[in-house]
Symmetry: D2
């Protein structure tokens, strides 16, 4: 059997571990051959391939990034995209595809599957906001990096009697902020799922200073204040229209300085959350995902996505993983509030 | 309500995080008072207490160890142990106990509960071998420490064309060996659950050298070779009868040197696996365990143990957690074998 | 003898290690007594003290920050500042002061010394830009944190064919950028000591992409382009007049995107470079500085600053440490240029 | 010019960084060609070579180990060793050699240089015991790894009221033990340079327990008790005559348990001290060593060794680096004693 592998979307620790497990088991246990497609869907679309065998996957387990490269190319926004992919797969003699990616990548995989392409999906999102799986790989690594940063900031906050704001990833879901905030002992955690009252945040900060300790505020990049509390000024967009580094974090620092009279500083973790070597949790999860994915392909069990349920790796219909986003439920947020301001 | 808290058994990252969550929520959400019992069951047995309030739990979230101290005292092996504990609890006006510990500590808690003491248990074992919960805190930290050691050893193995053997914790269950071995890209993993054939291990090692790579063997301290392959010599016991450091690991190194003619060296990770700051996974898990435990006490839901099921923290009867050991199932071991020797 | 200790200026890993060494040796070897002054020069100025003995310094060696707190108060900008300090020292029976801080703090110490106060200085600057000492503690920690961030960013850069810009500390001296850039394998390093030609930087970036690798640019926050290449827009200042996070880094990203047509992203490490536990190098250096400082005080050798020369800790006149800034010499920069763009 | 490069002796973080710097500057700045010799002196002896150019050194800066492999082959113990090396160098058209290694490797280099071979040496020893240079690369990494282990062990020691003994590398010189012990806050440090009185060690341990804290003892593998206090039993030698893991550490644990009545446990760090990614200090030092070495070759300045003096990289006669061992001077040990037992 000849199998294509691709990785799409944002960088995420564990991608290489998935690729390694797929190839290692496919070759040694089942005698499959592999074709590496470069840069996500752009690979099959434009026939960009690379050799993919035991040699290529040696030593990549601990490495961040993806040896296949990635892109955000969406076939269905490209003329005859699907046809071209089908032709290229046929031309290369590829019998099945393993697509490793997030909502967009798996969304494309789902449609291709409906169109008769043999696809198995592996869920990937650092934000942990994909349905159908308890966790996605990369998330644990991001949370640990953010936690270590928060650990470091506590001492600065206290030595200088300052508020420190840590802006972490999460445009639509606040999982990283919630877990990093809990793990780092943050005094306030702000998520996209719930608009915050900046006066309430200031009150938490004040309370913390009264205890003679300095506050750490963890804010997801997508968190927003209550309607009308913030107008996103142009100056917070760069000349390319991207939200400038420290958009919400910087805004919050200015607000809290004004309201509390205490210095506030913002740290934006940005891309260091998504690069580098994976944690053990992510290496084991991504390895087990890869093994399950190649088993599915080998059994001809297509149109499926691998997923974590408790301690088991299971297969679910692709469509289940790519429905609506898995956001932080209210009870998980309430659970954390007991630590706020104290 | 007046609540006693104790920690028993071996050191484990996350103990302080549990204590902090219990006290923080107990005081701020429910207005409870707390008594800290020192050194496990020895505390209530001998009335050894320490103050336990918001002040005492400040800043302990990231710290390994336990501010309450620990011991392996077993009440039921001490004359009138139970009576003395009941007297002391009554004397101190303690209405309920939160016992944080492993099989022994929770075993005592179970019996006390049957004898009418109000107890809630929090499962703790670095070996992850407690039934009823998907994971225990401390395990993820231990696996990461072992993985980082393995990452470091790869380069030494290859630069010197040597076999490197890493002996990790796990007398009866091989969870740490399995996960650290998978995460570290070990070429052979040996568990207590399954006697190994030292000739098969030597064959894997040979195969790895043929690929021009040096092998890493991860062995749990409790792993044993097939009947008759090893006689544990006295010289592997120290004068206190403890298994000498590098018992099985050292023995294996000698065997592999003899069988392969290639140098073999052993590294015994020992106590560094159980000390120090917890990972994010363990900090979040232990914090959530603590919050659930104090909720249970507050609701008078005694005789229960908190547990992780998927992403939820649930309560189960104490007895369920302290039945037989949760060992590594055969399929998990087989899953890993695809990486052996390659 | 009764000795006051204070820490001034910005947070820096190793401050607590200095305090611990001073107190430990002062008490056990010489029988001195100590007074902790809070928040830098504000302490002696306003008579803000805290107890400082063996108990207070237990366990602080690995902790970042300073148990004494810090501030940027400058006595000589306050009316009767010096008189008030002298009165407070006399009132508290303090015979000598150990001042731990950077150029400002030691500048004050130098003047006080000229005015007859018994002072010994310990140099502290994360930027490593103090004269008279080979290195200052905190610098090695900052460089390691920046290096680890760069290590993580390499994989993201390559997976996404992006330029990644890492903005590190260093307003006037580029030591952190130089060492972190060398250690992290940066493809361009930009320092405050030398205006850069943004077109040359773009050329290096292009060259790197031609090699099929993605570039990492390390830029010190104080680096500036050639005259006329950059106008610092208001939008890069926040409403408090602070340079907005990602000032130069963000500007550079926009320029490089425009000039190379490849995506560029900026990561601003900010305060995580100055908090948290010190590296071994910084713990040993700060401990040895503390031991030498208390020896100097004990011998009545005042008006001195401790310093590292090779592997020795020596004493030099305070004035020598607080003259002009120690910036990166041209030859050190040229030495690094061989790695640029390749 | 055609230049051979080899690495000899034990694994040491930074070897690859030296190789990378040599090749990068040699090719881009001087247009040299390179030949990689495999496995130390065995390479030129047996003509074992590998390609060594820009491609081969890409991405190796952060990697431990050596891409050239290593061995302990000593030419002068092999018949016609020198002649065969000279023939092979001539045959391969190699004009000069860069030898990276410790006392043995550089000792051979020194003799070859006297015999007219163009050699430049780069000092390498994890033990930091080479004369003529302030520090050697690899040492800082080893010290940090040992320090992190000690940090982790503190909490275990205190939670269990145990003595913990950490055995670190250092057969003849105690630099790692001294620096890791200082950095980790050890309560006793034992070096090969000075026989220890086990009763004095027990007294320090007792004193620490009286303070209600648990002691950490850092012992170099080569440390020895006073004459007559220890008889090294056969059972502490394995069947290959190597000192069994935990030789001195294990012996000390048994002694301290017997003398203090408190549990004592030993952790032997072993090879994890010499593998894996280098610290920033070691990456910068090894990179600068490499740049200086290729400059020396380019200038025809042979028979030299590069060395660190303060913040400068200098060249000294090879012979100066390979004279007697640089051991820990008494004053450095005395400096540390103020922390013992407290």
């Amino acid at each position: 059997m000849r199998i294509g592998v691709l990785t799409g979307g944002g960088d995420c620790p564990g991608l290489n571990a998935v690729i390694r497990a797929v190839v290692r088991k496919g070759v040694t246990a089942y005698g499959h051959e592999f074709v590496g497609f470069r840069d996500g869907w752009k690979g099959p679309l434009e026939g960009l391939t690379m050799p993919l065998g035991i040699q290529q996957v040696r030593g990549i387990l601990p490495r961040g990034g993806t040896i296949l490269g990635s892109s955000r190319t969406n076939l269905f926004k490209i003329e005859n995209g699907v046809e071209r992919v089908k032709e290229n797969l046929a031309g290369l003699g590829v019998d099945a595809l393993i697509a490793i990616g997030g909502e967009d990548t798996l969304g494309v995989a789902t449609k291709l599957s409906d169109l008769g392409v043999n696809v198995v999906g592996v869920p990937k999102t650092i934000d942990n906001d994909l349905n159908g799986t308890d966790y996605t790989f990369g998330f644990d690594t991001a949370v640990n990096i953010a936690m270590e940063a928060i650990d470091r900031l506590h001492t600065t906050a206290e030595s200088h009697h300052r508020t420190l704001i840590v802006e972490v990833m999460g445009r639509h879901a606040g999982w990283i902020a919630l877990h990093a905030g809990l793990a780092g002992g943050a005094n306030v955690i702000l998520l996209p799922e719930r608009e915050f009252d900046v006066d309430q945040v200031a009150a938490y900060v004040e309370k913390r200073f009264q205890h003679e300790y300095a506050p750490i505020v963890v804010v997801a990049e997508g968190a927003q204040p209550l309607e009308g509390q913030m107008v996103l000024q142009n100056q917070q967009l760069d000349s390319f229209g991207h939200v400038r580094l420290g958009g919400i974090g910087q805004w919050l620092a200015e607000q809290l300085e004004a309201k509390t009279g205490k210095e506030a500083r913002t740290v934006v973790l940005g891309h260091i959350q998504r690069g580098g070597t994976p944690t053990a949790f992510d290496r084991v999860l991504s390895t087990r995902f890869g093994l399950q994915a190649i088993d599915a392909v080998n059994e001809g069990d297509f149109g499926k996505m691998v997923a974590l349920r408790g301690t088991d790796i299971v297969r679910i219909p692709l469509i289940e993983g790519t429905g609506e986003l898995k956001t932080v439920p209210l009870e998980r947020y309430t659970e954390a509030e007991v630590f706020f301001g104290s």
